[in-house]
Amino acid sequence: MLDGVARERDFSVDDLPCGCLVTAPDRTITYANRYFRDDLGWNPDDLVGKNVEVLLTRGSRIFCDSYVFPLLMQEGGCKETQLTCRTPDGERIPVIANTKLLPDGRVTWTVFSAENRNKLLDELAEARRLSDEKACEAQAANRIKSAFLASMSHDLRTPLNAILGFGEVLSLGIFGKLANPKQAEYVQHIRESGAHLLELITDLLDLSGIETDKPSLDPEMLPVRDIVRDIAKQFEVSSSFKKHDVQVRLRLDADRIYSEERVLRRIMNNLLSNSAKYAPQSSLIDVEVRRVLNGVEVSVIDDGPGFPQGREETMRNPFVREKASDDGLGIGLAIVDTLARQHGGEMRLSNEPGRGARVTVCFPDPRRPGVGRKAAAQKAGSPARKRALRDPGRDQMAS
């Protein structure tokens, strides 16, 4: 009948570039077109009367029993099912099958070769497998790196404390005065270099600690003016600021900030240290604290060379510095970036027109609409928090 209807339109079902099959309710084949001979090697007349399973590999039979036939019963059809047909010689040919249940219980099938699609799916599955494997390897390597940094930093700090301690003993003349001014100068160099080294090691420890432990924050509303003023004062009397005659100018337009004091101080210290490295002689570093729609933003602006054009984003990566000769390890901003994210906030890097670099950290306020839930989720270490945290291997910054 199928042929008869089709012939009225001047073509035969045998001419169609797909397999057409009809099966009885007991799955016996009652019709198969010529596609099964031309593409699958079966004589259509031989197929009639056989169970449709004769065309399918064993895996495909299970799939049909588990999915296709129940779907036909439930929904009357099943579209775009990938199956594997077998030829009389046992060759396997991937196909796409559409099936439809007729009111009398028969099922009509169309079958298309899917060899190219199958190859693409195989490649996709392989890409996915490799991606998962690489992601696991990268995570493992990062854990090893962080553990190494923590261990190395700890081992370096122990002898350094001895150097600093004995340097101080010499400097204070506890066991007798130094013989001449040159000796005093050199002891001072030892102490300053030691202190600088200690700072670098502390940064490394902080970075590895943040990456491995991902400590949750315990934020509260803090008096931001007092804290920023206090930090700025400490910096102005520090040797690095005094040496270059750098001063801090404050513009404080917010009273409260949602953070943890230890973390806020760490962020401010890193931002000011970063600017101090690049600020020219006798210049000003501006610290702006202002309210924005979703919280408070803290910006530090200097008159240094700014971030290299087009590379602003890379400067947040750890161990990236503007020049290899720059002081530090290039992890100060990476730490700020990670801490900002732990707040549910962000760090933005840009260049200030007519001046140097501008680094802005946003501290969301949970009392603002749409902020609280996210911050709470991050604090609780929920999946949302896990996703919000960047891959430690990519959390970075320059200083």
Partner: protein
């Protein structure tokens, strides 16, 4: 986990009425909708409890744990949880295909919950283990099935997302499943498939302590008549009823043949 959590987690439906409760455990592939042709024939005489395993149908897929559901024990625990949540005792468990075995595990773990077990097209092991046992399939056949499942239920957006995100797939990454019959997350489906097709529950059969009725299809590509006979022979108190049919889903294709036998078995 409290009662309402379990009822929601497993999308439990509790209908019908009667002194005897029939608990229906669906097989691999679909969900409790598989029972929709059979249960109306029994609802006037029996209380009917149906559920979806975690990860199937409209269950709470966020409760899925690859570790738990990598073996049939995890699915058996779902059956026990559902029965305990509803405070059921002495039920008749009706399990299709792999659920005949998860039901058996549940009945060994918590025998007081059950009085009898009806197994629809059961197979204790799909793999051949010559010379004594022929489950019907070689490992390569079943690996091909897993491959087909991946290709058919790849759930493109979900499958590609980890490539974009660069993260290993994990339990965090639970797709929003459509409500469609038989649709499921590919990770969950593969886990269920591996647990189903690579398990060997043959050693458990002699430990069955409840009267068992096996419904066997006369022509079943997944569980042949000899497999049904093996189950009947190994379970201490079992009988078999062979239904003249083709296919593995007797409860969908021949509900009228099953219902009277099941009712008789449940009440005697």
């Amino acid at each position: 986990m409290n009662v309402s959590d379990i009822l929601e987690r497993n999308n439990v439906t509790d209908t019908g009425s009667g002194d005897t409760t029939l608990v229906f455990a669906h097989g691999f592939g679909c969900d409790q909708n598989m029972w929709r042709f059979l249960t109306p024939l029994l609802a006037e005489r029996f209380r009917i409890v149906k559920f979806d395993y975690v990860g199937s149908g409209n269950s709470d897929a966020t409760a899925f744990s690859r570790e738990k559901y990598s073996s049939l024990d995890g699915y058996a625990q779902d059956i026990v949880d559902v029965c305990e949540a509803l405070e059921l005792r002495d039920t008749v468990l009706v399990g299709h295909s792999v659920s005949a075995m998860t039901g058996l595990i549940a009945s060994i773990e918590a025998p007081h919950l059950f009085r009898k077990i009806a197994m629809v097209c059961p197979s204790p092991c799909f793999l051949n283990a010559p010379p004594d046992y022929f489950g019907g399939f070689e490992r390569a056949d079943l690996e091909e099935l897993i491959d087909l499942m991946e290709k058919n239920y790849i759930g493109w957006a979900n499958y590609l997302a980890p490539l974009v995100m660069g993260t290993a797939n994990g339990e965090d990454f639970v797709a929003e499943l459509s409500g469609s019959f038989c649709s499921t997350d590919p990770v969950i489906a593969k886990t269920f498939a591996r647990a189903t097709f690579f398990s060997d529950s043959r050693p458990l059969l002699p430990r069955a302590t409840h009267p068992t009725l096996v419904f066997q299809s006369s022509e079943d590509a997944l569980a042949s008549v000899s497999v049904g006979g093996f189950v009947r022979d190994r379970i201490p108190e079992a009988e078999i009823e062979i239904v003249e049919a083709k296919g593995h889903c007797l409860h969908m294709t021949h509900p009228a043949a099953l219902a009277p036998s099941l009712a008789r078995f449940a009440t005697c």
